[in-house]
């Protein structure tokens, strides 16, 4: 029971981060039907920039509390990533709006390679560790323990998701996003500036990605120029699991994938009688994905097409 609860909690925390990243994929997909392969790298850049700021602040000699330092890192990383998201769309996707559908996929891969290597040139090949400046208090919840950081990550992620849902459902720009997702040309005729909406979507997704990047590096204590790849892959999987293009689906898919993964890590040995170890947890996630898609070919919430934004 303890293990179950513990893995559930860990999974929810991890899953909330996946969900934040998955939202970036799903929003872009909803509007452009494009897999933004470079999104994972935006997460990585977010983590790297924030760490650079955090380390600089620590080296500056000011005796700031840890939370303030991390907040400073986030405050720099978010605008940097927003600018990056904007630039990626402008340079790599907009010129190909009318091109065959696989063309932007290739530019996305190209951008991804470029960003990885830029990060490698700037920050080097080695792992960068997150300085232990956040207070670590453990709380016991029914036989399992969670740290302050975990609680904070989870709550912040939920808050951001709620904010996003409000933005999409209640605001003018949100309505414009939904309209563009449904029918870009008609939305344009109705006076929606489609290009502005698309740019906004990229900027918004990148902001969430930046926050997720800081969360991941704080949670695992490290960052690496290659971290965006696997994270992006997981988040994309989550988005597809929930039904790509569907915002609620991305949230659900993210949380679900996080829980599935940590459950698999905790139990896979027991289930298979020790034949498969926890190093198969990624396999497990993909098996679940394939299983879900076989029975629900457009993801868990994929049929509510009208609601995609």
């Amino acid at each position: 029971m303890d293990i179950f609860l513990q893995q559930l909690l860990n999974g929810l925390v991890l899953g909330s981060v996946y969900a934040l990243i998955a939202l970036g994929y799903t929003m872009v997909y909803g509007i452009l039907e494009l897999i933004n392969f470079a999104h994972g790298e935006v997460v990585m850049i977010g983590a790297m920039v924030s760490l650079a700021v955090i380390n600089a602040l620590m080296a500056s000699g000011m005796a700031l509390p840890g939370v303030v330092i991390v907040a400073g890192g986030v405050l720099v990383a978010v605008p940097v990533c927003m600018a990056l998201g904007f630039a990626i769309e402008r340079i790599a996707y907009r010129p190909l709006r009318r091109a065959p559908r696989l063309a932007p996929l290739i530019t996305a891969i190209g951008v991804s390679i470029v960003l990885q290597n830029v990060a490698m040139i700037i920050w080097g090949r080695s792992y960068i560790s997150f300085p232990p400046i956040l207070p670590v208090t453990r709380h016991a919840i029914g036989g399992a323990t969670v740290t302050d950081l975990q609680i904070f990550i989870f709550l912040l992620a939920l808050l951001l998701m709620a904010g996003l849902a409000l933005l999409v459902q209640r605001t003018r720009i949100g309505r414009a996003m939904r309209a563009t997702a449904q029918a870009p040309e008609i939305a344009g005729l109705m006076g929606v500036n489609v290009n502005a909406v698309i740019s906004f979507t990229f900027v918004l997704g990148s902001a969430l990605a930046a926050v997720a990047g800081v969360m991941v590096s704080a949670y695992y204590g490290i960052a690496h120029y290659y971290m965006g790849f696997l994270l992006g892959l997981k988040a994309f999987t989550a988005a597809v699991l929930g039904g790509i293009g569907n915002i609620a689906g991305a949230m659900l898919g993210g949380l679900l994938l996080g829980v599935i993964e940590s459950m698999a890590a905790g139990y896979i040995g027991d289930i298979t009688g020790g034949f498969l170890g926890s190093n198969y947890q990624d396999v497990f996630a993909f098996f679940v994905l394939i299983g879900v898609l076989v029975f629900r070919p457009s993801g868990l919430l994929g049929e509510r097409v009208a609601e995609r934004a």
């Binding site: 091109a99 065959p100 559908r101 696989l102 290739i106 390679i113 040139i121 790509i244 190093n279 994905l289």
Partner: protein, 371 residues
């Protein structure tokens, strides 16, 4: 004489064909003498990638199914060869038995992947194939315990080299007085098989099945209405593409003498996809061009270090870092300026140059028309 007339002249075409043949035949000796043995090795790899790209071209280019896990079939072929011809299990089967077997097993894996997933459309299929590729790789990585099959991350070593008759292609041998080094011999073997695959691809393209694939790519519903069994025809595309991958994998294992899960990561699938799309999907010369460029370009970029040295007097940025950066930029630039690929087929180019309406139809048909 204008260019078009020149092109339609049969004698000119024949001459060009013969010249190309001679060039291909002499390539390893020319390259070996001019650039060194290392480049002959690269030439060998180029041919391997040509085969892989042509295999994927069947799935992506002809049938329009986006497959992001193609490397899984390459891995299946490579590991099959490695297990059947190495000290791992003490088996040393002849290569001419393993290669067809590899094609068969990889084809079966293709069906295995295809059967449950072909209902999926577009991007959903992409992520499932991607997941499949990762699953295969993770299994290869972990099947060393409790029963050691793949030797885990260390991979399998001391794989038997490919042998023709009693001559192992690993050492040089003399052929009527001319000393032929092993990598040169591999070149001719790979060239022969690549040409075979080109031939099969060409014949497939004009066959009933090939036209069914294109019909499905352009409009699946219409294809079904015309009486095409879309399910089986798509399965066949998967199986056929996969078996090409399996053969290439076997050749890779024999050539390299060593396989490990590292060689079969997602990036490899992505690279092969880039070759197909960058060159010109569905157009065989284009795909070959894509494979050649994307194999040779990263190698050429290795000369950046000396170039920096010459320009600035010192190495400013680590050339290894810069190499992939330039590669990524090249991918972006090529696609922006030639969205249909470097060398698209005539029909595709025509469609591309014409009105936007045609373009959009094509755009939808490319891999998913349904929203």
């Amino acid at each position: 004489m204008n260019w078009r007339r020149l092109k339609s002249d049969r004698r000119v075409a024949l001459a060009a064909f013969v010249a190309l043949g001679l060039l291909l035949a002499a390539a390893p000796f020319l390259v070996g003498a001019g650039l060194g043995r290392g480049w002959v090795r690269i030439l060998d790899f180029t041919l391997l990638y040509v085969m892989l790209a042509l295999g994927l071209n069947i799935v992506v280019g002809y049938a329009g199914l986006l497959d992001l896990g193609y490397v899984a079939f390459y891995a299946v072929g490579a590991y099959l060869y490695a297990l059947l011809a190495s000290p791992q299990f003490g088996l040393h089967l002849p290569v001419w038995l393993i290669l067809p077997l590899g094609a068969l097993v990889a084809g079966l894996f293709g069906m295995l992947l295809g059967a449950p997933t072909l209902r999926l459309r577009g991007d959903y299929l992409a992520i499932v194939t991607l997941g499949f590729g990762e699953i295969i790789r993770i299994f290869l990585n972990n099947l060393d315990a409790p029963l050691n099959i793949t030797n885990g991350p260390q991979g399998i070593n001391l794989i038997d080299p490919i042998a023709v008759g009693s001559v192992s292609l690993n050492q040089s041998f003399s052929l009527s007085g001319v000393q032929v080094p092993g990598i040169y011999a591999y070149y001719y073997l790979f060239l022969a098989l690549a040409l075979l695959i080109v031939f099969v691809s060409l014949r497939l393209q004009d066959s009933r099945i090939g036209r069914a694939w294109v019909a499905i790519r352009e409009d699946e519903v219409a294809a079904e209405a015309m009486g095409i069994d879309t399910r089986n025809v798509k399965l066949l595309a998967f199986a056929m593409g996969a078996s090409f991958g399996g053969i290439s994998g076997g050749l890779f294992a024999g050539f390299q003498g060593f396989v490990s899960p590292e060689s079969f990561n997602l990036m490899e699938s992505v690279m092969i996809l880039c070759m197909v799309v960058l060159g010109g999907m569905g157009h065989i010369p284009g795909v070959i061009l894509g494979a050649v460029l994307l194999t040779v370009l990263p190698e050429t970029l290795r000369y950046i270090g000396p170039l920096e040295q010459a320009l600035f007097g010192r190495v400013v940025v680590d050339p290894a870092d810069l190499r992939m950066l330039i590669f990524g930029l090249a991918l972006v630039l090529v696609m922006i300026f030639r969205p249909a690929g470097l060398w698209p087929s005539k029909t595709r180019r025509r469609e591309f140059d014409s009105e936007a309406s045609v373009l959009e139809q094509e755009q939808d048909a490319l891999y998913d028309a349904s929203r």
